[in-house]
């Protein structure tokens, strides 16, 4: 009998469902769960899906250095990408720079990387942050690494499509610049999410529960996906898929 679904596996399956229909998916550095989700989406798609895992030779198809990811996104050749944030607010603004008054932030994170660009260019950006606390989900981010929405005059083929956290899955309404809670992960409640979120969001009175992956999906995650992701993230694979 298969062992029960791990939290990581639930997240992988949930993210993979958000990638349905994508032909090309790019995954940033230090992203084992999004990476696994992209590989699962590829595994389960009936049509070919191209996945690039950045900074892993053999795991991607770049020959021009990492500028190629950005150019490829601008060419319309990247359908989906994942972004996170040290802070994320209710309008899907993300902050990868730091806490407090810029520039002498009292807490400094690495920096904005490509977010200020890819958030504009990639049609389906999926926000992913496991930690779901009021430290992360704030009323207003202290620094906008990349804005959630832009005025109509701004060229912006891309933007936030959905958000997955350790507690639930959200969709994002660009016109209203608001998240909507679509499902709560097994073991948590709407109250858990509301108490740990620093901004308002839409939701049903009784939100759906995030479905656990079915047996075939779990088998795919633990089989080919685990094997493939181990090439880029051996430590992650060892911890989550010890049997693989």
């Amino acid at each position: 009998m298969a062992s029960p679904c791990l939290p990581e596996e639930l997240l992988i399956a949930t993210l993979a469902r958000l990638l349905e229909g994508c032909r090309t998916i790019a995954v940033g550095v230090s992203s084992p769960i999004p990476g696994s989700a992209a590989l699962l989406a590829k595994e389960q798609s009936r049509t070919p899906v191209h996945v690039d895992v950045l900074e892993s030779f053999g795991g991607n198809s770049f020959t021009e250095g990492s500028v190629e990811l950005f150019d490829r996104a601008a060419q319309g050749r990247v359908d989906a990408f994942f972004l996170g944030g040290g802070q994320i607010d209710g309008a899907a603004n993300i902050n990868l720079v730091g806490v407090g008054d810029y520039p002498a932030t009292k807490v400094r994170w690495p920096g904005s990387f490509g977010s200020a660009y890819l958030y504009f260019m990639v049609p389906r950006v999926i926000l992913f942050r496991e930690e779901h606390t009021r430290r992360v989900f704030v009323p207003n981010v202290d620094f906008i690494s990349a804005p959630g929405v832009s005025g109509e005059e701004i060229y912006r083929p891309g933007g936030p499509h959905a958000m997955v956290t350790g507690l639930g899955r959200f969709s994002f309404d660009k016109a209203r610049a608001r998240f909507r809670l679509e499902s709560v992960h097994p073991g948590y409640t709407l109250t858990d999410i509301a108490e740990n979120t620093g901004f308002d969001f839409d939701h049903d009175d009784v939100p759906a529960e995030t479905p656990e992956p079915d047996a075939a999906t779990l088998a795919a995650i633990r089989g080919p996906v685990a094997e493939e992701i181990a090439k880029s993230y051996p430590k992650f694979a060892e911890r989550v898929f010890p049997a693989a």
Partner: protein
Amino acid sequence: MTIEFCDSVEQLMAKVPDGAHLAFAKDLAGAPMAAVRALIRAGTKDLRIVTVPTSGWPVELLVGAGVVSSVETSGISLGEYGGAPRFNAAIKQGAISIKDATCPAIYAALQAGEKGIPFIPLRGVIGSDVQAYRDDWKVIDNPFAEGGGDPVLLLPAIRPEIAVFHARRADRNGNVYVGIQRELTVLAHAAQETLVTVEEIVDGDLMASEESAAAMLPGVYVSAVAEAPRGAWPLGFLDMYTEDEAHLAEYAALARSDEGFASYLLREVHVAGELESA
């Protein structure tokens, strides 16, 4: 166009003057750690650093050693070892000035430098605080947009005074193997001088065949080369060697305090370096 072959990394890095505008590529493309240590030992001051487009260990060490006055970057991180403690402390204290950028902006500005054009447009970015805090960037209406409107960001070209990177090998004409780390090519094209450390200097012409030439930075862009075996240590380098995990973990622990960092600097840069270059 004369390539100088330096006898030591010390000699190579002695070419960097105080106040130089210095560029480093991202760590994964080959962090020139031996060069960074030599630069600290040289006592070179007030370095203005731009990272292509990110960095980690080189900037962390240089900032910690107090030889940096400003950093333009899209991200500084020690990867699995977490945030960059000395860099972050310097930011908090306002000890260095920071120009936050975004990766494609640094690439585009560097490509503008490569092409000798004064500026280059870039989509996106508008409305971010990355843009809001960059008074050296401009927004104009796209002159080609019918009916006006369509704001677009313009970035001034970046032409670093000196690029420093570590590579696999060079031949005696100064041709440097870069493989698919082509940010190094763009960087060397855009920079006024390029100083390279390599794992080895080899005989024979690495540009001799078309297949090998495709992986090369031609020597015409290279000012000086020094051999530095394991020159990325304690970091790993491509498929040649893996990172020194114990060393890096010890650094991350020590660098939490000023005293810890000072002891690291003394032991691993100054004392070890004197032994190295003796």
